[in-house]
Structures are given as structure tokens and as C-alpha cells.
């Protein structure tokens, strides 16, 4: 790049290349010198060869998808990837090429693809009994519910099992409304909570909202430290919730729902001090506080097991899905015994919810997280990764913000650091190039300009280095 380089940038570049050279010496295997400039990052080694793939080609699949599946079904990448095999934090395409999975099937595969303990639990239970419903007893659901409840603070002891995050959030919203006798629910702008009728209302990004009636939800100003008008002043944002209640409702509401770190919205960590202030407001209005832990839960934030713990609050209802089963269709709602009784006035039933196979997998996941200290790993590797990404931000003007916690990180790309103009095209380009280099990341934010890095929690420092080096390599060429 032949351009006038400001002194500050030159200094940071020198600092960065010194650091990189130190790393090059200590991790000899990590990269090799390119013929031109810089290093072509090389993937960390991995002792596994996928079985040869003999199934349909990418083109065949794509044409079948076009014919038989939703016309709105999208794929990432201009040349979509045919992913046929997965092992821990790696995915393999139909040619056997390995990729670092830095997206985790959307923050879903937490223990690692085909983790042996989880697969064993699934296979063993499937061979015995797949399904019978909760009309009969079975120990799998009871053992899992107990183990899950034990991971939650306060009086959050009663578990409801569903098949997805949407189902979990729908149930949580219904319970809040039944419990309080009120209908109004407050969620945050930029939130994502699901795609069924109630949850579509709570979701607050126009690209996910269809033109159908979505009643009883109010969207509060998002406590977004990067783009929000009050910066990181959580309490200032919290006042908006108070206003919403006082002016937009009867003064009493059903509840408040939020993600501790917004996932689909682009890995936005709620401004510090926001949640405690809002929770207090909500309680005063007689409402229940719902924490959507679908992405931030299950050790992903590293510092804590649950995302809400990072904010020092205890919700009334917690919803989970995605990572709860390492990819198996499973969701859960956990609440207090008091709130749980609200469903006894009629019959609530979920045919597949709590089936032996999914709950066996869920229990295996909890055991793996503990046994392999995945929370600690998420903290250590995540902190390291964030540091390296922040250093990269100093190097490239294209990177507007690096944020997140543990292994739930976001990198926002902008074309102008001051105006924060979303760099949509550049994001697509870098994402595609990352794939070519062997790194799969996710994309988010309402402008589609945020990289979502939510890998399986077995992600290593070497993987982190590879990811950042790849990004560096690509951005250097832009």
C-alpha cells in the first residue's frame, strides 16, 4: 500500500510487526514466508482425516435447494461451501479441505463437532429409546433438568424443555404474560429472539420482521457502546425503558427480554450498568426479567457460565438453545417454582421436548464443559484473541470496533472511523477471502458489516493466531 502513513500508525505497525516476529520465532509451524510480502498463514495441524466423500456435488445440492427449499434460503459466500464433515473446531468440505470453524454453526457447536462424549451419549440413547414423550417416565430428562438447574443461580430451578430457541422464547413470553396478567413486553432494538409470532415481535431488526401483526412489544433504545447515542453510559439508556413504561403502557408490564450480548445484531455487549438499572425498573412495573441466553450461555463468555452473570443480575426466566446440545435440536426455559405454576391452569405439552436422546446429549454437553474446562478455555483463548484483534484494529482503519467477551467476539468494519459508515462490501470480500484462506466466520449486524466469531469452545490459541493472521494477510492486500 503506497500511501502516506501517519506517524502514529507507523509506530503501531512497527510494534505489531515486532510482536509478529516474536511469535513467528516461538511458533515456527504457524506460517510460511510468501514469495511476495508477509506470511501466508498456515492452519494449525490436526490429526484427523475425514472419510472420502462420495455424495452429491455442491452444484447438485444447490440446484435441489433452489427447486425444493425456500427461495429465501441463503448461503454464505459467492461460491457456497459444501460442508460434509466436522471434528472439534474444524469443518471439512466435499474435497476433504479443512477449515477453522470460527462460527460454530452460529454459536451452536460448543463442545466441538462430533465430540466423542456427546456422540456416544446420542448413539447409546438412540439405540435404546429415541422417543416416548413425558407421558411416561424416563431418567434422561430428569437427570438433565437437575444438572441444568444446578447451573443457575437464585431460585431458578424449574426447567421446561423445547426444541429450539424460538420455542423457548415464545414460552417465556407467554409465561410472563400469564404470570403478570399484562400483555406489554419490552425488548431492545437490534435484538433477535426468534421467528414465530410472539418472538418476531420481540425481534427488532426490520430484515427479520414480516408485515404481519406483532402486538404488545415495545422496543427500547439499544445500549450500544459503539453506535449508541449515550456511548457506554448504561444508566442513561435505562431511562428510555422507564419512559416506555410510563408513556406507552398502563404502567404495569409483562416483562423485559434481552440478550446479554446481542448475537444476530452483531455481538453488541449491553453497556455496563444497563441491566441492573433496567431490571429494577421492570420489577417496579410488576414485570418479569427474561434473559435470552441462546447464544451467550453455556460458558461462551468465559468469565461466567451465563451471559447475564457478566452484568451482575439474576433474571426471573432464562431461555436457552443452540449450544445447549452441541447442535442437537433442543431448547430450554428455566424459571422459579412460583412462575412455573402459571402453566398449571391449563395443559401445556411439547411432544418432542425432553426426549431421551436430546436430553442425554444435553447432559453430556454439561459434563464436557466441566470436564474439559471449556469456560476457562473460552476465557483464556477469547481474551487472547480479542487482544490480537484489537491490535489488528490499530493497524487497519477498516476495523471500526472489536468487542465481545470470551469466545463471543465481533469485529465491525467501517469505511470511515469517525462516521462509522458500515463497510458492507469490504466485509463480504474479507469474509470470502477468509474462507479461501481456510477460516469460516459469521456475519451480523443490521448492516451486515460485523464479523461474528463464535467458535466451538475448544478453539485454541493457535486457531486464534491463524484467524487473525489470515485477516491481517487479507486486509494487507486490500
Amino acid at each position: 500500500m503506497q500511501r502516506f502513513i501517519p506517524v502514529r500508525r507507523l509506530l503501531s505497525e512497527i510494534k505489531y510487526s515486532l510482536r509478529r516476529q516474536r511469535r513467528f520465532l516461538s511458533q515456527v509451524a504457524q506460517s510460511e514466508v510468501d514469495n511476495n510480502d508477509g506470511f501466508v498463514p498456515k492452519m494449525p495441524s490436526f490429526d484427523y482425516s475425514p472419510p472420502p466423500y462420495t455424495g452429491p456435488s455442491a452444484d447438485e445440492i444447490l440446484s435441489k435447494r433452489k427447486e425444493y427449499l425456500s427461495p429465501a434460503m441463503f448461503t454464505l459466500y459467492s461460491k457456497p461451501l459444501n460442508i460434509v464433515d466436522g471434528r472439534m473446531q474444524y469443518l471439512f468440505d466435499d474435497k476433504g479441505r479443512r477449515y477453522v470453524d470460527a462460527f460454530g454453526g452460529i454459536a451452536t457447536v460448543c463442545c466441538g463437532h462430533c465430540h466423542p462424549d456427546v456422540v456416544e451419549a446420542i448413539v447409546n440413547q438412540t439405540k435404546r429409546l429415541q422417543h416416548s414423550t413425558i407421558l411416561y417416565l424416563n431418567h434422561a430428562i430428569a437427570d438433565f433438568a437437575e444438572a441444568l438447574a444446578n447451573k443457575l443461580p437464585g431460585n431458578l430451578k424449574v426447567v421446561f424443555l423445547t426444541n429450539s430457541g424460538t420455542e423457548a422464547n415464545e414460552l417465556a413470553m407467554m409465561m410472563a404474560r400469564l404470570y403478570t396478567g399484562c400483555h406489554d413486553i419490552i425488548s431492545l432494538r437490534n435484538a433477535y429472539h426468534g421467528n414465530a409470532a410472539g418472538t418476531m415481535g420481540a425481534t427488532a431488526q426490520s430484515n427479520w420482521k414480516f408485515n404481519v401483526i406483532q402486538s404488545g412489544v415495545h422496543h427500547a433504545v439499544n445500549p450500544d457502546p459503539y453506535r449508541g447515542v449515550f456511548g457506554s453510559d448504561g444508566e442513561k439508556y435505562a431511562r428510555d425503558v422507564q419512559d416506555l413504561i410510563q408513556f406507552g403502557t398502563s404502567g404495569n408490564i409483562a416483562g423485559f427480554i434481552s440478550e446479554a450480548i446481542q448475537g444476530v445484531g452483531g455481538i453488541i455487549e449491553l453497556a455496563p450498568g444497563y441491566m441492573p438499572a433496567v431490571y429494577s425498573t421492570i420489577k417496579k412495573a410488576g414485570g418479569l426479567c427474561i434473559a435470552d441466553e441462546v447464544q451467550a450461555g453455556f460458558a461462551r463468555t468465559g468469565s461466567h457460565f451465563w451471559g447475564f452473570e457478566n452484568h451482575g443480575v439474576v433474571p426471573d426466566i432464562v431461555t436457552m438453545a443452540k449450544g445447549i446440545g452441541n447442535g442437537i435440536p433442543l431448547g430450554a426455559v428455566v424459571t422459579t417454582p412460583e412462575i412455573a405454576t402459571v402453566l398449571t391452569c391449563r395443559s401445556y405439552f411439547n411432544t418432542f421436548g425432553g426426549n431421551p436422546v436430546c436430553t442425554a446429549a444435553g447432559l453430556a454437553v454439561l459434563k464436557v464443559i466441566e470436564k474439559e474446562k471449556l469456560q476457562e478455555n473460552a476465557f483464556v483463548v477469547g481474551t487472547y484473541l480479542k487482544e490480537r484483534l484489537t491490535a489488528l484494529k490499530d493497524k487497519y482503519d477498516l476495523i471500526g470496533d472489536v468487542r465481545g467477551r470470551g469466545l463471543m467476539l465481533g469485529v465491525e468494519l467501517v469505511t470511515d472511523q469517525e462516521l462509522k459508515t458500515p463497510a458492507k462490501l469490504e466485509t463480504l470480500h474479507v469474509m470470502d477471502q477468509l474462507k479461501e484462506t481456510g477460516v469460516l466466520v459469521g456475519k451480523g449486524g443490521i448492516y451486515g458489516n460485523v464479523f461474528r466469531i463464535t467458535p466451538p469452545l475448544c478453539f485454541t490459541k493457535e486457531d486464534a493466531d491463524f484467524l487473525v493472521d489470515a485477516m491481517d494477510y487479507i486486509m494487507a492486500k486490500m
Binding site: 472419510p51 445440492i61 435441489k64 435447494r65 425444493y68 427449499l69 425456500s70 427461495p71 429465501a72 434460503m73 457456497p80 461451501l81 460434509v84 466436522g86 454453526g105 457447536v109 463437532h113 438412540t126 439405540k127 435404546r128 429409546l129 429415541q130 422417543h131 416416548s132 411416561y136 417416565l137 424416563n138 431418567h139 430428569a142 437437575e146 441444568l148 438447574a149 426444541n163 429450539s164 430457541g165 420455542e167 414460552l171 407467554m174 400483555h183 414465530a196 409470532a197 427479520w208 414480516f210 408485515n211 404481519v212 404488545g216 438453545a321 447442535g327 435440536p329 433442543l330 405454576t341 402453566l343 391452569c345 391449563r346 395443559s347 401445556y348 411432544t351 425432553g354 426426549n355 436430546c358
Partner: protein
């Protein structure tokens, strides 16, 4: 001394009754008396209950928590709203084809299939193999990447559909499927009003609760413009089997209760939760016409009736000679895997392209592989024809039982989707709730696990895995006969 005399008298009377029953009992087919030898001699002798057909399989020994331990944990960690069957709930630990095993290794005939869900049979080897093999390769990546399993499954499923029904959406449950169908209907038509039948069950999520029309399942929450029309119930409906009079009700709802335009109409062809109620013949044809004239789309809820269960047809709606605009499925689609689907026309699907609609788990490789295996097994093992064959035998025997026991008010259904409604008075059709509950327990003790349904809980739902045999059917009916005789 008096007590002994009383006991002897009671025994004598029972013996006499049994012998009387045996003499009056019409033998429909030689099969009934020879293939299940112990059961026919049971009605002849005194207290020998019918025996389960033999089955060459040994369940694994069970070393897990006991029923009591599990129940205690459920009460503590799963909430008071999680109900269960039976005074002494069963700890079911293993399943094989049409049988289930409890913690002591005792075998039961599963006549309910985990609520019409285990379509091919518990732990069916082919489906098991598909699930296990795929789980070892890749459980989950989402549709943002390509994978052949979802494409192959969608193609196979679409090929089972008539008309222009060929775009498939995969979800994780029946509720999710019906939610999506409602969204499609409202988007496509631009109208809001939905019509469903009284006694219907379409889901337990907040929107589908609106479509569901049985107070036991409806929480007091806003439903958003849903009209529940008179149920074309041949047994309890005021117009009997006169479809035209019921259809006029729908016309009236539209003309008086809406702007004249509706979003859609949804119905199960044989209501499941509602008690295996088959819609009066000719009903759907007329109603589909009426709804379409009002700009609405027609949704067929095949969550229970699909996949060959009705025997005569692959899909329930085919029994009424109609082609819907949207079809929803779940339960049997994956033999127990958490899987649901919505199939519709490309035209209706196109409105969904206005915004992003994404289902994280929907269409995952394992469930898709399982679903595809289910379709293959149903075809290969000719399950549909089997349902027709065994189903008509079962219904035949149940009708004979109806002649024998006054308590049986109605026997209805098709294929292996059968209902037996119990009444204390045949004219008044007073629901025999207590008797149903009692017989339900007795059947379990005899080794048959039935389902229960209907608003009054007085209907036995018999919807077993579709590998259910005639011997199983005989055993079931003999057990029912035995239990009813002792009432």
C-alpha cells in the same frame, strides 16, 4: 365364613359371565382363535388375561434411577405442569418396533407410539443406522453451508406431494410448522382472519393456541382474529355426517364475522387430540371452495394423519379428495426425531422471500438423514398397505366389541388411526370419563399402552407404530374385552 361364601359366589358369577360371553362372542376370523390361542381360551376360562404376542428380543438390563427417583426429580426440576399417564407412572427405558419395556424388563404393546410419533417402530434398524452414521460425520452446521441431506430429504418429501406442493421448509416441531403456515397464509393473502375447527389441536405455542380449539389446552392470552367453526363430527355433531350443513357454517362465519376475506383455513383430516374424529365425508371439498372464494388458503395439518397412517392414502387430506395449499407435518416424519416440515407451492413460498426467515436447527443433517430413512422404510416395508390391512382388521374387531359392550359408543378412524369412544348412555352419549380412566389403567396392567383423547377424556386413541400386526390388534381387542368384562 360369610366372606368365603361371598367370594365363592362372586367367582361363580364371574365364571358364568365369562362363559356366557364366550358363547356370544362372534369369531370373525380363524386367526383370532388360533394365532392367539391363549386369549380365546382366556375368555372361555376364568381369570387368565390375554397374552402378548411373542417377540424375539431381549431388552438390556436397566441400572438407572427407579421410577420413584425419577418422579421426585421431575416434581422438583420439571415443574408441576408436567403431567404424566397412570396413577403409578411407567418408567419406559427401552423400545423395539411396536413394543416398549419398563425398568423391570416387562414388555408392553405400544398402541400410542409416543403420540402417533414413532411411525416405523422404536429403534427401527434402518433409521437408527441413518442417525448414527450421520451423527458421526456432522450433526450441525446450518443451511448457511450446503449439505446433501437436507436437499435429498426435501426432494423425497416433495415427490410424495400432489399438485404444485413442492417447496419445503424444515422446522423442529408441529407447533413451529403450524406457526409458519399461519405466517405464510397471512402474508400471502394480506388478510388476518384464520379459521379452524372446534375440537382441533394445532400446537401449544402462543399463536397456535389460537388455532387449537379445546379449552384444556388454551391459556387465556390474546389470539388475534381466529374463528372456530362448528366441528363436522359425525358422532357428536348436530348435523351428523351432513357435510353441507357444516360447510355452510364456515360460509356464515366468513360473511358475518369477517370482512369477507380471510387468510386461511386449517384442519386435521382426522382430529388427533380431539379424539380421532374423522371429518364428515365431503366436508373439506366444500370448505376449501368457500375459503378460496374468500381469498384464503387451505392448510392441511398432517402432523398425525400423514405418512401412510390412514392406510387408504399417504396423506390424510387425500381421503377427502382435496389438494391443500399448505401442508404441515411433524411427529411421524422422523420416527421420533425433533423434526417438522411445511410444504407449499412456489407461489406462496415467494412471499416468504420478502424478509429473512431462518431456523437454526431446521433441516440439520441428522434429522434430515433420519427423515429420509423414514420415507424409505415406509415405502420399502409397504407400511401404508399394512396400515390399511391391519387397520381394517382392528376396526372390524372393535366394532364387534362394540356390539358386545354397551359402553362403547363409537368406533371410528381409518388405517392405524383409530378411536374408541366410551359412553355411559348410548342415546345421550354421556362421556364415560371415570370408566375410561379405569380401563386405561387396566389396559396398562394387561400390557397395552393406549392413548387418551377427546375434550372429555373418554376416547381411547389407538395409533401404534405402523409395524403393528394383526396379532397385536387381536391382543389389544382381547385385552379390552377382558378389561371391559370385569368392569
Amino acid at each position: 365364613m360369610a366372606m368365603l361364601q361371598r367370594r365363592l359366589l362372586k367367582r361363580t358369577l364371574e365364571e358364568a359371565k365369562a362363559r356366557f360371553n364366550f358363547n356370544c362372542y362372534p369369531i370373525l376370523s380363524p386367526r383370532a382363535s388360533f394365532s392367539t390361542l391363549p386369549s380365546s381360551s382366556a375368555t372361555a376360562s376364568d381369570d387368565v388375561p390375554p397374552q402378548l404376542p411373542p417377540f424375539d428380543y431381549q431388552p438390556k438390563p436397566y441400572n438407572g434411577p427407579s421410577a420413584d427417583e425419577i418422579l421426585a426429580k421431575r416434581k422438583k426440576f420439571l415443574g408441576p405442569s408436567l403431567f404424566y399417564y397412570y396413577q403409578k407412572p411407567l418408567n419406559i427405558v427401552e423400545g423395539k418396533m411396536q413394543y416398549l419395556y419398563d425398568e423391570s424388563g416387562r414388555r408392553y404393546l405400544d398402541a400410542f407410539a409416543g403420540i402417533v410419533t414413532v411411525s416405523c417402530g422404536h429403534c427401527h434398524p434402518e433409521i437408527l443406522n441413518a442417525i448414527v452414521e450421520q451423527s458421526k460425520l456432522l450433526q450441525h452446521a446450518t443451511t448457511i453451508y450446503l449439505h446433501h441431506a437436507i436437499a435429498d430429504f426435501a426432494e423425497a418429501l416433495a415427490s410424495k406431494m400432489p399438485g404444485n406442493l413442492k417447496v419445503v421448509y424444515f422446522v423442529n416441531s408441529g407447533s413451529e410448522a403450524n406457526e409458519l403456515a399461519m405466517l405464510m397464509a397471512r402474508l400471502y393473502t394480506g388478510s388476518l382472519g384464520m379459521i379452524s375447527l372446534r375440537n382441533a389441536y394445532h400446537g401449544g405455542s402462543s399463536s397456535t393456541i389460537g388455532l387449537t380449539a379445546l379449552n384444556t389446552w388454551k391459556y387465556p392470552i390474546p389470539e388475534g382474529e381466529i374463528h372456530h367453526v362448528m366441528n363436522p363430527d359425525p358422532f357428536r355433531g348436530v348435523f351428523g355426517s351432513d357435510a353441507t350443513r357444516y360447510a355452510k357454517e364456515v360460509q356464515d362465519h366468513i360473511e358475518y364475522g369477517t370482512s369477507g376475506k380471510v387468510a386461511g383455513f386449517i384442519a386435521e383430516t382426522i382430529q388427533g387430540v380431539g379424539g380421532a374424529v374423522e371429518l364428515a365425508p365431503g366436508y373439506l371439498k366444500q370448505v376449501y371452495d368457500i375459503v378460496r372464494k374468500a381469498g384464503g388458503v387451505c392448510i392441511a395439518d398432517e402432523v398425525q394423519t400423514g405418512f401412510g397412517r390412514t392406510g387408504s392414502h399417504y396423506w390424510g387430506f387425500e381421503t377427502q379428495g382435496v389438494i391443500p395449499d399448505i401442508v404441515t407435518m411433524a411427529k411421524g416424519i422422523g420416527n421420533g426425531l425433533p423434526l417438522g416440515a411445511v410444504v407449499t407451492t412456489p407461489e406462496i413460498a415467494s412471499v416468504m422471500a420478502q424478509k429473512i426467515q431462518f431456523n437454526t436447527f431446521g433441516g440439520n443433517p441428522v434429522c434430515s438423514a433420519g427423515g429420509l430413512a423414514v420415507l424409505r422404510v415406509i415405502d420399502k416395508e409397504k407400511r401404508q398397505a399394512h396400515c390399511a390391512d391391519v387397520g381394517s382388521h382392528l376396526i372390524g374387531r372393535l366394532r364387534s366389541l362394540q356390539d358386545k359392550h354397551d359402553i362403547i359408543g363409537d368406533v371410528r378412524g381409518r388405517g392405524l388411526m383409530v378411536g374408541v369412544e366410551l359412553v355411559t348412555d348410548r342415546k345421550e352419549k354421556t362421556p364415560a370419563k371415570a370408566e375410561t380412566a379405569l380401563l386405561f389403567e387396566k389396559m396398562k396392567e394387561l400390557g397395552v399402552l393406549l392413548g387418551k383423547g377427546g375434550l372429555h377424556g373418554n376416547v381411547f386413541r389407538i395409533k401404534p407404530p405402523m409395524c403393528f400386526t394383526k396379532d397385536d390388534a387381536d391382543f389389544l381387542v382381547d385385552a379390552l374385552d377382558y378389561a371391559m368384562s370385569k368392569l
